[in-house]
Amino acid sequence: MRCKEIEKLLPDFVSNKLSRTETQAVREHMKTCARCREEQESLRNIFLLLDNVKNLESASAKPVNVLAGVRTRINAGRKIRTPWVSLPRLVPYATVSAAILILGFFLLRTPQPDGKEYQIFTEQEERMLLQEIDTDSFTFEELLALSQTSFEEITSNSLLDLPDDAFITASEALTPINENDALTYALATTDPEDVLESLPSEVSEKILENFEKQSPL
């Protein structure tokens, strides 16, 4: 076997989890390969440490019992919030959050005080995001219009049909101190879970990746 194949066996070799044949193959290889012998040595040391720590954890671990909690939740009919199960309930929130998000990235695209122009999404991601939101209640054109309008207008035009609790949440998120602080305020007061949960995972993952790479926050 070549080094590439041997190295994949090394963690299990040092943990004594290989079959007899594999163990023999690794031993044979190491007789003539100093690099793999060295690799094996350093892995053996780290697995010794890992084993020690694992034993320490096991010794101090408290028993886990979630049965009562599970029963209570099942009896209470508690719903697990998964994107597709809870989507209908989230639509009003998601729509408002999406509007904020859209507004956010248009604001970020305008030159900031430091002269830079931040772009959170690629064009393709924008399209994906906009298409997803489109299925909720806004059309692409409406969202574009929303992104170019004022917060007061969004509030008056878009939120009045929401249920009371959603209206309050959305209103709080959308009441800006002034336009320059709008993005920070909106991001800080919007529950990102609603945004994320309303989107397919591939879109939310991309959003997250881009936030990490390019967020000016």
Binding site: F47, L56, V64, N65, V70, R73
Partner: protein, 190 residues
């Protein structure tokens, strides 16, 4: 009579319990919870690194399993199914936490497990535990999951392959690279 029934339940195989669950037997489901709660809790705990969140998510895993049990097709073992639910929930939880952290300036990088009641005698060991925990935390997502499932849960590669939908060869490579990165992290930190 009732106790005898409960005791009898613990001797049932997973397949028997699942069949009973599908017929609405809550005690059979309780037995599954009792049988797998520790394993599910620990994989989640190692991923989210917070006891309370791990307990909450573990409960969510079983509630979700209960809700979906009738659609469980038994192509794989029940524990691989539970692991998959647990891992997906943990990843979602971590992503939300990360986004919340980005948006609200929370600093979770210094978060330590909440169960640290370290007596001074084992301070060094506790430090080592944190070091290992930090090393694992820094692994790429896929390598981290493979490492947790293989090293801590001691799952066969075939089961991990079922859970993650990755070839056994790929998993072995992931496991090796994860171990190498942990080794390098620890070496640099000491």
């Amino acid at each position: 009579m009732y106790m005898a029934y409960r005791e009898n339940m613990t001797e049932r195989t997973d397949e028997e319990l699942i069949a009973r669950c599908k017929n609405g037997d809550r005690h059979a489901f309780d037995t599954l919870v009792t049988r797998y709660q520790e394993r599910i809790y620990w994989i989640i705990k190692r991923m989210v690194r917070n006891h309370d969140d791990a307990i909450d998510l573990t409960q969510d895993v079983f509630v979700k399993a209960y809700q979906k049990i009738t659609s469980f097709r038994e192509d794989s073992g029940v524990y691989t199914w539970l692991y998959r639910i647990g891992i997906n929930m943990s990843l979602n939880h971590l992503r939300k936490r990360k986004l919340r952290q980005l948006l609200s300036f929370d600093d979770l990088s210094m978060e330590v497990p909440s169960d640290d009641q370290t007596p001074s005698q084992i301070h060094e060991k506790e430090e080592m535990r944190r070091l290992i925990s930090n090393a694992i935390e820094r692994l790429p997502e896929k390598q981290k999951i493979v490492f947790l499932l293989r090293y801590y849960e001691e799952l066969p590669y075939e089961d991990i392959s079922t859970i993650l939908g990755t070839s056994v060869g790929g998993l072995k490579a992931n496991y090796f690279h994860a171990a190498k990165k942990i080794e390098a992290f620890v070496r640099n930190a000491l």
